[in-house]
Amino acid sequence: MARALSIVCFLFSLLISLAQESTLTMSVNKNPVPVGERFKLTITLQGGKGNIIPPDFKDFTIFAGPSRSTQTSWVNGVVSSEVSHSYFLIAEKIGSFEISSASAQTESGTIQSKPLKIEVVKNDGASAQQGTSSSGSQYQKQGSGGGTGDCIVRMYANKSSVVVGEPLVVTYMLYNRYARFDLEQHEQLPQHSGFWKDDKLVESPQWAQELERIDGKDYRKAHLATQVLIPQRAGELKLDQYTAQVAVGNRMSFFMNRMELKSNVLTINVTRPPSQGKSANYSGAVGDLDIKVSASPTELEVNEAITLTVKISGQGNLALINPIDLDLPEEFEVYDPKIKDKISTAGGGMSGSRSFEYLIIPRYPGEYTLPQSELQFYDYTKKKYRSAYGEEISISVQGDESMVKGGGPQVIRKEGVSELASDIRHIRSEVEIDHKEGQYFTGSWQHWTGVLSPFLLLGLFLVYRGKQDELQSDVAGMRRRKAGKVAAKHLKSAKTHLDSGDKSSFYASLYQAMNDYASQKFTIPLSEVNKESVQQAMTQAGLDESTIASWRKVLLDCEMAAYAPSAIRGPQELYDQVEGLISDIEKKL
């Protein structure tokens, strides 16, 4: 008995000690879990303090956590404490997975939890995800149990298939069957990737008058938010799930039960506008649009400002429209446009207008015409490209050109000569350009006269000198050459006289012949011919003394014969001597 008692006592004490000892549990808020969804895993250490060591979540991704919480309670004089670590995990694959046991180091050693089996099932994305209380949370114990599907959030899109740039509207609705309801978190709508979005949250959602029947149950409904989305790229774009934090409770319950509501998942099929019919300067405008261009003032002075307004209105992706290309003259200085929007997202799209206000300053006077501006857009209802045209605008810039350059501070703009178009070079024809003669001294006739006349004079001088020299040399030569002939003539006449026996005439003509010859030969004027001058000329000419002496002797004989003809040698002898002398001189000179 004592033995039995002791066993019972032992068992009891063991039980006591067990109750007081630490336990480690691991739990999840849902099982099975849809693939790709978040679920909460909580590791709880009850009794005592310790270090929780999480297991390896190798088949899951940690989305958030761990978030730690501690709780201490006093029940019947016994202090109990609880430490819990929570993780939000996401299952990546379908199947059955086991999370290995977690461990904790406590004062009394290391303890381990049980491993956990988790079934991951296919995600039924279309149905609203119903929030369930997490089993490890303290709220769950206080709540009075949330029936499945009593609180739902849903997203509705007005279109499921759009082109890039076509606005669509997503409406967020809340359905509820709980008597007490509190919307705790309602500030952020999901960031849908691939979309430009414009959120319109309902400030304080109100229950609608009528009820909505879903799956045979009546729900109160409230409009939470509207979101205008403009797809930016083509493809099957998935809208992110919307999550709302709510607290619910029954009429009778005191505590509210916190829940996380998840919406359905929507997929939007986005196609690209066709490339057919698209012009080169299509800038991505979509919808049904119109363009208006206005400028004021249209008459102004240089360096004054013009406001050019390009207003694009209609329905479409107005908030995403870029400034159109304005074909402005290069003399205009253009500043970046100011954008003014009057866009309404009511009525299932985006309508209104977007205005671009350009500040333009003409820097040069003149008459300018701003050509029609074209806005091409894709009309998704008619499924084709259309164009809207702005008005042509004439601008008259008055002003003195001195304002462009003259005094006062102003901007001097330097720009390269920009080519507007390229074309072949024009054909070339052989054109010679000759310059008009100006009144220049250089190249004038005076100049050429000045340059050439010295040479002309030089030439004349040289010619004159040459002529003179030639003349001089020629006269002497001729005479010399003539001398023999002259002598011969005189000798011939003397010979005639000799033959006829007229002795005095013979001597006279012989004397004459000698003097004429000497005059011609030695270039002595006839009047100056005498014995001395001839002798001198002969010496200069280099004749030998005997010849000169003979010449003298013959001359003397001729003179004497004129007075005493019989006293001298015979006339034939004298004649021969003269002939011999002349031929001798001719040979020598």
Binding site: E331, E401, L420, V431, H435, G443, P454, F455
Partner: protein, 249 residues
Amino acid sequence: MRVLFTLLISVIGSLTLAQEVESLIEAGNQAYEAADYAMAIDKYDQADSLVQSADLDLNLGNAYYKSGALGKAILHYERAYKLSPMDEDIQHNLTLARNLTLDKLEESSSSGFTLWWRGVLLKIGMDQLAWWSIIAAVLSALGWVLFRLSASRARRQLGFALGSLFLIATVLTAWMSLSARSVITTQDEGIILTSRVEVLSAPDEGSTELFVLHEGSKVTLVEERGSWTSIALPNGNKGWLKSAEVEGI
């Protein structure tokens, strides 16, 4: 420049013309001082049609500049610069006026040597060179005379050397004077006179617009055909515009 001026007058050989030009310039100067630029331009222009003078071109350029005609101002500054490239006032005015043009064009791509040679020619002056050529011709002729007349061998050698040397000098200076004249008279560059000119691809109103030029821009004149002129830019762009819109320097 005074020398050139009087020289021109003496070459023209008219004392009355000289007086007329002087009185015109005087009247122009007075109008300019009185800020009556239109009158000044009128007087200077009359004088400019009779004579050529860098100073007159500078005055004319100033009058146009003051009256706001940038293209004409640059044209006359360029002409003045052409006649007297070393004149600091002309350089200054020209640089100033050029800075106000809208088109940013590269400077013309003449080689350093060409520019230097032009500078030398213009600095000496074509008429100065012309006179030098005449003097050299006279000296050369005298050299040859000495060569021809001298009996002594040394004098004949001296005469030959002087004659040859000055003959070369005559040819050289005459050629230089003609080059200088050609530099001044050749109007191979022009200035755009109208505020905005569309340069076309062919001498025809309907042809493609290649680029736009603004008043005061310097262009190379390629050829003229009828009322059209073909121009080229330093960057090689070519096109046609109305001859009235550009004037040769």
